[in-house]
């Protein structure tokens, strides 16, 4: 069945058309970012790309730093594929698909050095801020990768540190009172995923297109166009020229996503 779908999609792509009448390198509309969608989180955002909706939230806590970085705050990104968002997702601990999304988003933020983690140290070796970002799709109509990365960045931008109270030697977070202090941002990584189907490239796939692609490349870039993380997926290998072309497409398309921030 998928082979027939693939043939059909390929036929359409010869005419630069998609199943939903888009062009091959066209994002769905709207691309929308809404901030502060969860009052309980320190920062949150909802991202919509076409019918795909993803919510991300940031929780801050105080924890011991990792032993190899005693003077840095910590960051962790998790994604859960909620069964609510797609009939094919099942309840349970995150599977490999969810883990991959979480880790690819994590690398984009971490490796771009987007947040200056050194500024999140409270007491070296003992107490640092721990940033937990969780990504939850509400409606999966494809391209969770790009929506997840965008929602994580938006939620981080929305984050305000809660009030830190020091009672004798212990620090206690007063979650009810947010300060006006934002996270120490320097760069804003945005991801674009380019898929290869046959010999054609597309962006912003629907769930149907995600079933039939040959290769996938997710590219995270900063606002200056520097590359900060990449991940190849799919079962077919790529040539160096194809990779270069896909990066070109991704760098170009990031601008459209960035406008929504």
């Amino acid at each position: 069945m998928n082979q027939e779908l693939k043939n059909h999609v390929l036929e359409l792509l010869q005419k630069d058309l998609r199943l939903d009448k888009r062009k091959s390198l066209e994002y769905r509309k709207p691309i929308k970012v809404e901030y502060g969608v969860s009052k309980s989180a320190e920062g949150s955002a909802r991202v919509q790309i076409g019918e795909t909706i993803v919510v991300a939230g940031v929780k801050l806590s105080i924890d011991k730093p990792y032993p190899d970085t005693p003077e840095q705050g910590c960051l962790s990104v998790g994604a859960e594929l909620l069964p609510m968002s797609n009939p094919e997702f099942e309840p349970g601990p995150p599977g490999i698909q969810a883990i991959e999304i979480g880790r690819v988003v994590d690398r984009g933020i971490r490796e771009s050095k987007s947040i200056d983690l050194k500024k999140l140290c409270i007491k070296a070796g003992e107490k640092v801020w721990f940033i937990s970002i969780d990504i939850c799709p509400i409606n999966d109509d494809g391209n969770l990768f790009d929506a997840a990365a965008l929602s994580a960045l938006a939620a981080l931008k929305d984050t305000k540190l809660p009030k830190l109270e020091k009672i004798e030697d212990t620090y206690i977070i007063n979650y009810k009172e947010k300060t006006k202090e934002s996270l120490p941002f320097s760069k804003e990584p945005v991801s674009v995923t380019v898929l290869k189907i046959g010999d054609k490239f597309i962006v912003d796939p629907t769930t149907e297109e995600e079933k039939i692609y040959d290769a996938r490349l997710t590219v995270a870039t900063t606002e200056k166009g520097e590359l900060c993380a990449m991940q190849k997926g799919g079962e077919e290998p790529l040539t160096v020229e194809e990779i270069d072309q896909m990066i070109g497409i991704a760098v170009d398309k990031t601008k459209e996503l960035r406008k929504a921030l």
């Binding site: 032993p67 190899d68 490999i96 883990i99 991959e100 979480g102 880790r103 690398r107 971490r110 490796e111 771009s112 490349l217 520097e226 590359l227 900060c228 993380a229 990449m230 991940q231 190849k232 997926g233 799919g234 079962e235 077919e236 290998p237 790529l238 040539t239 160096v240 990779i243 270069d244 990066i247 070109g248 760098v251």
Partner: protein, 238 residues
């Protein structure tokens, strides 16, 4: 500041010393060891054999299943907690995808080929060493293959393109891009590509070209190791 001299004095396109050996685990249907510098990877292949749990069986063709694992004492620093982690699950998956284009499992519906990759000692580049070992082990197991898979991590350190980063280079204070790549030597195509760190489009292309060049050398080492087992006539029939 430009990175003009490597920490361990290697040339920019020079890998650490490589050793490879095939047939190191007798119980397995195929096995290999791949050592690059202080990173050591063992791979064992079992199968094609019946797939369990049964619901994972694919009636169209056989399945390739990779399990990547670091031994608890093999890490840089703290003990690595035994059992699967998010990291090891992701590496298992990308390794599977890196090997998949070369293996032909059409003849084995409902069966699985299990590849176990274990690392007793590490100094960066573990997924690449694992892929090199695994592709030799698959060949040793007699799985029909179009090609071997050779793999290396290349990087860009403060604008200088280098091959085979070790742990100190990955942790270098400065702008480092770490790019694990797997190459199918006969077609020159790339089946594993990840990157983290800072890079430009131009440097990435240079790094990929370097990876292809280095992988051709690794390919020769892999072929030699395979021939050593089979050409000597000493191979035991199983």
């Amino acid at each position: 500041m430009a990175y003009t001299k490597r920490i361990d004095k290697r040339k920019f396109d020079e890998t650490r010393p490589i050793e490879a050996k095939v047939g190191v685990i007798k119980r397995a249907d195929g096995s290999a060891m791949f050592k690059i510098g202080n990173t050591v990877a063992y791979a064992a292949v079992y199968g094609p054999r019946s797939m369990f749990p049964r619901f994972l069986q694919n009636p169209q063709k056989g399945t390739l299943r990779v399990n990547y694992n670091m031994m608890p004492f093999s890490g840089h620093g703290d003990r690595v907690r035994p059992g699967p982690s998010r990291r090891s699950k992701e590496i298992s998956m990308v390794t599977e995808k890196a090997l998949l284009p070369v293996v032909d499992l059409k003849e084995f519906p409902n069966a699985v080929v299990d590849v176990f990759i274990e690392l007793p000692q590490t100094d960066a580049g573990t997924r690449c060493a694992g892929i090199c070992a695994a592709s030799m082990a698959l060949a040793d197991a007699g799985i029909a293959m179009k090609d071997l898979v050779s793999s290396i991590a290349v990087g860009v350190i403060d604008g200088t393109v280098v091959a085979d980063l070790n742990y100190d280079e990955e942790a270098f204070e400065g702008e480092v891009a770490d790019i694990p790549v797997a190459v199918l030597p006969n077609s020159g195509k790339i089946s594993l590509l990840q990157m983290d760190g800072h890079n430009t489009r131009g440097d990435l292309k240079k790094a990929l070209e370097l990876a292809k060049k280095v992988c051709m050398k690794i390919y020769e080492v892999q072929k030699k190791a395979l021939k050593e087992k089979y050409a000597s006539g000493k191979s035991e029939s199983k």
